[in-house]
Symmetry: C3
Subunit: 162 residues, 3 copies
């Protein structure tokens, strides 16, 4: 039979797990808020200093300075095609698995942009994210993303069965 001390430690560990999932989900929300408000600093800080973003099989952004520029550049795709038109980065509910100071998440994302009087789906994607906790803060280390299309889900969702 467990002592009170041992039971308390076990409860604390389980609570840490639930809170870590919550922190990671909120990290993904900050990703969206920062993108839609054009906040390059906040957006780049969601990513690890050496983070890699792979989309459609290619590395499209790597390293925090490049993540900053992706949002800040007035002539870049983000400002011109997304933020300046009015955008909404939405993340559907994701499954998160935490292992100590590492974690992964899988789920889908949808970016809406304004067009005429309505809205267009700008991107609709399957995603896998890897996270690391650095100096008490969760960050995205790697994101693998594919536009929804024939066969693309299998290329992205690799960990959800575990």
């Amino acid at each position: 039979m467990q002592t009170s001390e041992a039971k308390i430690s076990e409860l604390e560990k389980r609570l840490n797990g639930l809170e870590a999932k919550e922190q990671i989900r909120e990290l993904l929300h900050r990703y969206g808020f920062a993108a839609d408000t054009g906040d390059a600093k906040a957006w780049s800080e969601v990513w690890n200093e050496h983070a890699v973003y792979e989309r459609g099989g290619e590395t499209v952004i790597s390293g925090r300075a490049a993540f900053f520029t992706a949002i800040e550049d007035p002539h870049g795709t983000h400002k011109v095609e997304i933020e300046n038109r009015g955008s909404l980065h939405s993340i559907n509910p994701v499954t998160v698995e935490v292992n100590g100071d590492r974690a992964w998440a899988e789920g889908s994302t949808l970016v809406w942009v304004c067009r005429d009087r309505g809205y267009d789906v700008y991107t609709l994607s399957h995603n896998h994210w890897d996270f690391a906790k650095t100096r008490d803060k969760w960050e995205i280390v790697r994101r693998i993303s594919r536009p929804v299309g024939p066969g693309t889900a299998k290329l992205v969702y690799t960990n959800w069965r575990a």
Copy 2:
């Protein structure tokens, strides 16, 4: 070193925080269920007696009686343009922050309505909500909402960095 008593109190406090977030998210789901089923009583009770709903910079509804009427009125926008056509009020995942018996949440919402054989996006919005716990029940005190458009995200998402 903490005593068992102190550790238990700390765990309880953290658990209260997670449960409060859960309650607030479920409040926002009830909002949607009540709207789509046309339940004016349930919908108005999601709001505080003196709640204010600001949309596009103007107060569009205030006080519980007016919230009730907004859903109940057979000639109002809700019945005619939304519920009677068949609607789906959806709320994307939101970030919730709880401070005692006050809380706020930020995130996006999407209302679908039926048209012909398909569905139209009726509203797509950025939102900030303030909540208060009154007689052991969370209620919306204020909602600030803007349709997704150029620059609107910055007018709504004011607390997420905190």
Copy 3:
């Protein structure tokens, strides 16, 4: 006044409740991952051996073998109209209520499929799910679903007020 033992038991019970909700939400995410990757085994195992899926007032699938076939059949609706075109099964945030080894959830679902260079809403639905925990694993026992349309929300959302 409660003893430490009694307090620890109470906290454990509350933590069990939060974890069960998390497990049920992840079950619904697995549902989507399995559908989009065409994994008939994983998809059929989300359902109880004797599960029933009611859609639009009729039983459309029942029993695990039929759930397996619904995904596996190369000439079935799933492969031909959904998965092979490229699909995204998304589940909006749901309210979950747990009572011991039984639970229910209510919320909306949206299936996107590729068409030309964009995406179509294939189904948009109101849903009620009943779950049971069998051999330490949550499974869907019954799903009741209706396409969003005039009056359909009232036919599906029956438990959310409780």
